[in-house]
């Protein structure tokens, strides 16, 4: 067990009194996600690769009916937990956060303006950046040029569904993107509607973790598209996802209305 591993275990099991820890470690020459129970050896912990641990947890969680889980979370993961807990996917009392402050490089890669977790346990807090160059450019050019840009990007899409599969806040059991009714095109690429639908669905819950962009095999700048929609919803309703205190999801509920149990679909 390395220093970092020891620190993670201390925070998870001693301070937070968790029963499980979800983190990352070095293994067979690679960096892997790792889920251990209290008392197990974490090995050589490593936090240099941004695995989307909330998504990873979402597949394990249904099979764990008790116990508290500590999860290494960056600010965006923390927000992802807020959004998912709000929608009833996790029991908030069973999740403990180990706050990870992102490195400067990571912040630059994500064009992130909110990189510091509520409580920093690991890493040094760095300032966020406020500009997404590509987004600025796209807002400057004409709509025709903007359409050309996106059409050229979306032509690359080979429908791997990485953007939905790896997304921490994409959790509908029946995804509209998988239905012929909405995405009519046969084969690949799936066309413009696929990406517009996804943009709309994420507008009130995307927490800008950037996992869609990182895991897109053909490098479509999806995070920029997400950021554009987030700006839209901010401009319209002064709403920003990721906040646990905001009682209900923006697009599916009306003001003062609570989320019904079965309506976490959008």
């Amino acid at each position: 067990m390395n220093e970092l591993g020891k620190k993670l275990c201390d925070i998870a099991f001693d301070k937070q009194k968790a029963d499980y820890l979800l983190a990352m470690r070095e293994e067979s020459g690679n960096v892997a996600p790792v889920f251990i129970s209290k008392g197990e050896d974490i090995g050589e912990a490593n936090i240099d690769y941004p695995y989307q641990l909330v998504t990873i947890l979402s597949r394990i969680y249904p099979w764990l009916n008790k116990g508290k889980i500590a999860i290494v979370a960056r600010r965006c993961d923390e927000k992802a937990l807020n959004e998912t807990i709000k929608r009833g996917l996790f029991d908030g009392n069973r999740i403990a956060v180990i706050g990870l402050a992102c490195s400067k490089e990571q912040i630059k890669k994500c064009r992130c303006n909110d990189p510091v977790p509520t409580k920093v346990d690991i890493g040094e807090p760095n300032n966020g950046v406020n500009t997404d160059e590509l987004m600025n450019k796209l807002q400057r050019i004409s709509p025709e040029e903007r359409m050309d840009f996106w059409v050229r990007q979306f032509k690359k899409c080979n429908k791997c569904f990485a953007c939905t599969t790896n997304c921490p806040v994409c959790f509908c059991e029946d995804c509209v993107l998988e239905e012929r009714t909405f995405v009519a095109e046969k084969g690949i690429p799936p066309g413009l509607s696929f990406h517009m639908i996804r943009t709309f669905h994420l507008a009130d819950k995307c927490i800008e973790c950037g996992e869609c962009e990182r895991s897109c095999p053909v490098d479509i700048p999806l995070l920029t598209l997400r950021k554009m929609a987030l700006k839209d919803i901010k401009d319209l309703y002064n709403f920003k996802p990721g906040d646990r205190e905001t009682a209900s999801p923006m697009l599916t509920t009306l003001e003062g209305e609570l989320l019904e149990d079965d309506t976490h679909v959008c």
């Binding site: 499980y20 293994e27 067979s28 020459g29 690679n30 960096v31 892997a32 996600p33 790792v34 889920f35 129970s37 690769y49 941004p50 695995y51 990873i56 597949r59 394990i60 099979w63 764990l64 116990g67 032509k155 690359k156 080979n158 429908k159 791997c160 569904f161 990485a162 599969t165 790896n166 998988e178 046969k186 084969g187 690949i188 690429p189 990182r214 895991s215 897109c216 095999p217 053909v218 490098d219």
Partner: protein, 678 residues
Amino acid sequence: MSVKHVLTTCPYCGCGCNFYLQVVDNRLVGVVPCKTDEIGQGRLCIKGYNAYAFVQNPDRLTHPMVRDGHQLRKATWDEALDRIVSEIKKIVSKHGPDSVVVFASARCTNEENYLMQKFARAAIGTNNVDHCARLCHASTVAGLVYSFGSGAMTNSIPEFENADCILVTGSNTLETHPLIGARIVKALYSGAKVIVVDPRETPLSRLAQLSLHQKPGTDIAWIHGIANVIISEDLVDKEFVATKTKHFEELKKVVAEYTPEKVEKLTGIPKEKLMEVARVYAKSKKSMIAYAMGITQHSNGTAIVKSLANLSMLTGHIGKESTGVNPLRGQNNVQGACDAGSLPNFYPGYQLVANGDMKAKFEKAWGQTLSDKPGLTITEAIEKAATGEIKAVITFGENMMISDPDITHVEKALSNLEFFAVADIFPTETSKFAHVVLPAACYAEKDGTFTNTDRKVRRVRKAVDGPGEALPDWEIVCELGRRYGAQGFDFNSVSDIMDEFASVAPAYGGISFDRLEKEMLTWPCPSKDHAGTRILHVGGFKIGKGQFAPVSHEPPAEEPSEDYPMILTTGRNLFQYHTGTMTRRTPKLERESPEPYVEIHKADAKPLGVEDGDRVRISSRRGSITLAARVTDRITEGVIFVPFHYAEAAANMLTNPVLDPIAKIPELKVCAARVEKA
């Protein structure tokens, strides 16, 4: 409560992406791409993300079965294995060892393939061992061995990103090798010239700067046409040709006939476009060629492969970074199965069985007298089973009743066998004919290695237990070997098998499980201190000089006629995989592409009165199938395309079993067909 993330290699195409299988208490719950993997880089395709879904399907074979009369009934392992051994022994004593064939599998690990061919050669005593590479890249192995001395991809997958020019032909790369396709797209979007030559419009050809559509079966003509332009416009790398190659003059004489005008007539490719392609390919600093089944599955597949190799040698685009001739292997371990010697003419490591020294070496290593007579290929074995010369077949994970050409004939051959044993993970169309069916463990339930298309040896790790009594193929073969009374089948782990394989195959000499745990190795890796070889033929060819091949264009075996006016070509799509045993049991994949279809050009559909979605019947000289039409303008007029995944309308009912004379690969890409409204 146990939660594991097990690093393993994707069981689908030859890209060989690594991912983590998420396991909760022996239950597979998901796939997480490995972010530090050099090939996948934390990315996968839709098949990769769903590679966990079929594993614990209730259809899995869970116990051995033996045939009693017309029924397959449940049996114990002892009974099933003893039945195989006694039947094979009986047939060998009556008809000799060459009346038995073992079909190994490109879906199994290197270690398992090594054991399967060892079982055929050392236990039964025949070189009749082959696998499905026969149906995909047999012509690559034969062609590139002739030209360069090595039948594998010359360069590595990451190099696609840095190429200046990529010539892709006969490969629907974005659909069939999505992560290689993604690298080509990345190069394209950062300024590289991508040229696609294909009878169909593919997702990649729609993006490419240059997209050419040839008439199926005219590949040598256009490739020679490019060579003609390269020579006549003086774009030849003269120094390379003079110092590193031979037979240039012969080639020059042959390609002189293939003027752009003549090529236009033969192939339908406009001469200006052909000339532009030749110039772009020759003048770019780093030019790569990538190809797949569209080149190899022809009755002259070996010759087409050689003619592609000619192009790279003419321009010196080989032996350097981001150059070379790159066959994209279609299956997770088709490269490894060839390397491990599951081929009728090669011992492990491409050592000829007909060569006395090699034979002596393996006789010493295995402590058995071996046959020096090259064995039968899959396609020949099926033929001889039909005529009764082959009496028994043992098959590991092959589904010939979907994958082989002219299924009606395959059915006749299989019914004709005295004894037929199948080991597989699911009941298949083929296992219906078996006398013994063995339940095998799938990739997630065993350890071993796969060798991907760019020769990287990648670990497969056990994540969950197999269903019921299912066993890994290597344990099955070890058990068969021991019961057969043969020496050298007492392995306790796959790591030991790899060690033996490495000791007899020089290219794998330095590869061991210990090293693979720490580093990524690419063969050739001859010794423990060797770091592996990413680019082949650096500084020259190992065989001395590369050989130009003065081959000539010949029309395909079957050309359109009055009765069968269309050309039928077959292939894969993104969502299904081969015979669909796994993907058709994966809900997310099946939903994307649930039913068989034929792509037909608008202009061809109109006179038939066929509209998009209509049912049509397609017939060839061998059979007919009924399926839905997809009317499109994304295919050449006169050509129809059917994916071969679907048992309910199996494209291989129609295909032509005519063989390439050298590689014995069938002409799955061209046959004459007729379309009617059903």
